[in-house]
Amino acid sequence: MVEERRILYEHLDVPDINTFDVFRQYDGYTRFEKAIAEYQPDDIAKMVMDSGLKGRGGAGFSTGLKWSFVPRDIKPCYLCCNADESEPGTFSNRYVLEKNPHLLIEGILICCYAMGIETTYVYIRGEFTLGKRMLDAAIKEAYEKGYLGKDVRGTGLNIDIYTHPGAGAYICGEETGLIESLEGKRGQPRNKPPFPAVEGVFSKPTVVQNVETLCNLPFIVGNGVEWYTKMGPTYADTREDPPKADPNTGTKLYCISGDVNEPGVYELELGLTCTELIEVAGGLRGEEVKAVIPGGSSAPILTHYELDTRLDFTSLTLAKSMLGSGGIIVMNETRNIVDCLLNIMKFYAHESCGQCTPCRWGTPWVRDIVQRIADGEGRQDTITRPKFGVTESGRWGDTGETEEIYEDLDLLESVANNIANVDTMTWNTICVFGIAVSWPAVSYMRKFRPEFEAAIREGKLVTLPVAEATVPPEENYAYQQRFIPKEFADL
């Protein structure tokens, strides 16, 4: 059994940890004081780079690398803390904001010191009224105690933190959507480049970081890089010679929900397997795992054959899925995958910002196709059509054979792949929302195809037994291509 490794959440349940005095008793702000007393700003940036910290918001991009793109000579530079947690299945930031807001403030202070930033906006989800209230109160206290404002602790640093409420749009969690929204416009993402690190909010260099990423900073500074890198696996990228280290260091706040006995947030070292996580969360509610969504609803689904996949950034990417924001949703044998996909597609059809045509139109189309299948009105007739492929003469053409296809399933895949192609990983949209739509649509359909076919054939939703509903590994496109990375020490 894997043990919980509480670092960010260590003092979460201490009564009144949201007040300055109690937070102070538990080493609060000492890490920031250590940073300004012992290190130069560049040292901190180097520590973060060496720690291998990857952004916890979804993309898993190296935080140190992101910071290195920020031009140091253009001022002012802004920090935007992304607290717009709206990915279905993710709820770890909410607890930090509601219970331990001073930890976030300390993380922000360290980031501001390292990057020479004076103004921070915390973009907080409109629905997080309690979280915003708690954070506002904590910020007020920090101003009173001299940790924010002009000349912080006599160091000459000026640091301000402001909270900025969102208003219920999922797309504002995307970094450029967040920036647009912060500027008082519709939250429609921008083209990249220019990246926010160069030209972000108010056309100035901007560092956008998730709450969880910033909360890691005090511990990296306080306990040192060596302590931090001991947690979680470091893989070797053998495509390069000599093999390049690919760190998945630190802990992750895994949010587990759905069919488990004890849903909640578990802080664990990166790199445990799906099966282990379900065990930590009190075991499965039900008989058998049917499917697991590993990283929020945008992530491609995992079948019960893939439960040995390790839940870290590299392993999941190589398994053709993603860790994303760490929102794990477990489904047992009673769940119907068509129904689950319908729910998720309704979400995306509602949340598409409407900027790019493939997404604005394609997402409702995907929803409508899944709805049609779920209603039992999926195109029932299987069409017999010439099978195209490599012919005897070695050319592409009519092979003379015929194949049976389900028209709606082909249509579903075609529409989804035209929003964003999951095989080539190219998207026809400005932001990655496109891929967040087609990833679940295509992966659910390909991995649980028998259930989709049954729904069309029978004219109603049919929940098949797990073994029958799942495509076997030899036909599973992702399983075929998946690659289990080796830990660096092993090589």
Partner: protein, 175 residues
């Protein structure tokens, strides 16, 4: 329709408390337009919903066109352009809540309040006749571990069952 529009056009201005809050807000941003979302939240709290008069007022405060304010208001689901009930009930219906039977809660609320579910373009559909409640479905409220959840105005209610919903609504009446 046109008559209703004229009735809505009662002029709007911040009360003293909100004006103070606004003055503090506006100093946070290098450009005034950036204060749009917090200002609209303030205005909605005071007026109940965003009327054309509110949009005009906000546009004037932030030195942008009214169209720009309308643009923003129509984009974000948390801003209402129609009157809503005293209590706005938001029921989460995204996958983790759906796996924990949010539909039972939703159906129970529908039956108890004798109302339909509001859509974004027709809030009146989900508002009770006495104007006390507005029932709407929302996407993930980021509390999937305690699903199913609902939000009533600013408060989150967790691990719901029809009995718990009854209890919560009864207590609202007592407040």
């Amino acid at each position: 329709m046109s008559d209703e529009r004229i009735q809505i056009e009662t002029p709007f201005a911040f009360n003293e408390e909100n004006q103070r809050e606004f003055d503090e807000l506006i100093g946070r941003y290098p450009v005034k337009e950036a204060a749009m979302l917090p200002t609209l939240h303030l205005a909605q709290r005071q007026a109940g919903y965003i009327t054309p008069a509110v949009m005009k007022y906000v546009a004037k405060l932030l030195e942008v066109t009214v169209m720009k304010v309308k643009d923003v208001v129509t984009f974000y689901p948390m801003f209402f352009e129609e009157p809503v009930g005293e209590y706005v009930i938001r029921v989460c219906h995204t996958l983790p809540c759906a796996l924990r039977d949010c539909k039972v809660v939703l159906d129970h609320l529908k039956a108890k309040l004798e109302t339909d579910i509001a859509s974004e373009t027709n809030l009146a559909k989900g508002t009770t006749a006495d104007g006390k409640f507005t029932l709407m479905k929302v996407e993930c409220l980021a509390s999937c571990d305690v699903a199913p959840v609902i939000m009533i105005n600013d408060d989150l209610y967790k691990n719901l069952t029809p009995e718990k919903v009854d209890e919560i609504l009864d207590n609202l009446d007592n407040l």
